[in-house]
């Protein structure tokens, strides 16, 4: 499966990189989450059946949850002064499922559920520490931060074995996560040549798709296409 990069590279508003991630092909069907349905506490928080959400595909095949980062340039992380990412536990699910932060940026986990959770990040990069913190219903928020860049750092709840979130840690202030329509925007990027990297957990084999781009004073528009797995 060779990822297909769309050809479009056009000038847009000043300093912003905008674009759309599109999924080529049909994603596999999501799995119904029987575990959440069978759980006495969590099941009643949902009126609709809950499924996995590996591929969130919107109109015009826009693919959500793609992490877009830039390589090149000299900008360093401003994570320590950046506002925290809020990782909520609601309906026995992590919201958002996919997110990105800078190195040393605070991640605040909150529990909006009337049930106990544990927040258990399982990093793999050197320097990022595995932790496991209990969080009672209505309990105080718990905070995390990670000093080393890492793709899709997994958060899990061991009380509810289906709860996962993936937070990519980036050593730069220039990154984005595509929205439900597949669109993304990296704001205020200094002009110059960069390598744009788009990575989804599953599409295109979970491997990053790269594209050499040039950001001008007026910005750039970059569209990227990722591949769904071949039908079995």
């Amino acid at each position: 499966m060779v990822p297909v990069l769309a050809a479009g590279l056009q000038v847009a508003s000043a300093g912003d990189i905008t674009g759309t991630i599109t999924l080529n092909g049909t994603p596999p069907p999501e799995q119904p989450n029987a575990q959440i349905a069978e759980n006495a506490d969590c099941g009643k928080m949902h009126t609709e059946p809950v499924t996995t959400h590996f591929y969130v595909v919107g109109a015009n095949k826009g693919l959500a949850d793609v992490v877009v980062t830039l390589k090149g340039g000299t900008a360093k992380s401003t994570g320590e002064s950046a506002p925290p990412l809020v990782l909520d536990q609601k309906g026995c699910e992590y919201i958002p499922y996919i997110a990105a932060v800078q190195t040393n940026q605070k991640i605040v986990a909150k529990n909006s559920d009337p049930v106990m959770h544990n927040v258990h990040p399982t990093p793999t990069a050197d320097g990022n520490k595995e932790q496991n913190k209990a969080q009672m219903p209505g309990g105080a928020d718990v905070s995390f931060s990670f000093p080393t860049a890492e793709k899709f750092l997994r958060f899990k709840c061991d009380v509810h074995g289906w709860m996962y979130a993936y937070v990519t840690v980036v050593d730069s202030p220039y990154f984005a996560v595509s929205g439900k329509d597949g669109s993304f925007k990296i704001a205020n990027v200094p002009p110059g040549k960069y390598t744009l990297e788009a990575q989804h957990r599953k599409a295109s084999g979970g491997k990053p798709v790269t594209k050499e781009i040039e950001v001008k004073d007026s910005g750039a528009v970059v569209d990227v296409t990722l591949d769904a797995p071949a039908p079995k």
């Binding site: 496991n132 913190k133 009380v159």
Partner: protein, 357 residues
Amino acid sequence: MIPRPADRPWLHRFALLTALATFVLIGIGGLVTSKEAGMAVPDWPTSYGYNMFLLPISKWVGGIFFEHVHRLAASVVGMLTVALAVMIWRTDDRRWMRWLGAAAVLGVVLQGVLGGLRVVLLKDQIGIFHAALAQMFLVTVCAIALFTSKFWRALPAAGTAASDDAGVRRILLFCTVLIFGQLLLGATMRHQHAGLAIPDFPLAYHKVWPPTDAASLATYNQNRLGVVEYKPITAFQIVLQMIHRLMALVILTAVAFCAWSCRRRLGGRHFLAKLSLAWLGLILTQALLGAITIWSNKAADIATAHVVVGALSLVTGSLLTILSARVSIPVRAAALAKTGARSEPFVTVGPVVSSAK
């Protein structure tokens, strides 16, 4: 005449109870890893800040239930083991038995500390040692149960006849060591927390030996779309499962040979022959459970049954090996003729009921 230890049925029954509780504990431990619930209680020795024995039942929810019950059951086994060791120390005049009881206490304490450290240090590797020590501890308490039994006391002392054949003992020991190695492999696989590294059987990713290059691994991981999102699988984990499969084949063959050897040397009615046949049945069941674990996409109950029958297979092999040391095993006539030794009449050796105290 060699003096025999006194008959203490209550000591034996208590040892059996401890062994049974340990067996149940290993099953619950298997359920904890099968449910990926090992870290559901983040603190130790407290549980969510409570004294472990005072955690309200209302909080035993989801993964907490499995982990907390495992801790409580471990406490029960710990207390039973201490009581057993005290009873042995006070009533059993065999010095080595007293030290075996003390070793069991040491083992259960170490096991508890390892379990706790796995939680607070967040190290999967400790989980592997925790699983390995669990098996060794189970064998120890089962051996204590055997040594305190009337059956053991009724066995004659180890045969010293010139025609005694140690070959059967050696292969029993060899098979038991193989099974222990297989359990270590299994524990390593479980404590990777990566789910099924290979989702099909008897082939592996539709091949006899699956490719483990980067592109293949990316495809395997891309196609993992279950509700439980395990860590991505690696080449190491795939190779580990392949070795586990091959080892299963080796063990099956070796135990079948054991059963055949025991029957041939001792006759089909000898208790060792019967026990080794039952052992073979266990190994066959275990192999089937291994296959069903894969076919069921690692259903928690099946995967746990695989752990339990694995433990039972190790215990059976260990006790068979111990028992074989107390039994004269006749050398085959052909071998005797070759060495020139005098053949002894073939005798089916079994427990000798003695009135000696």
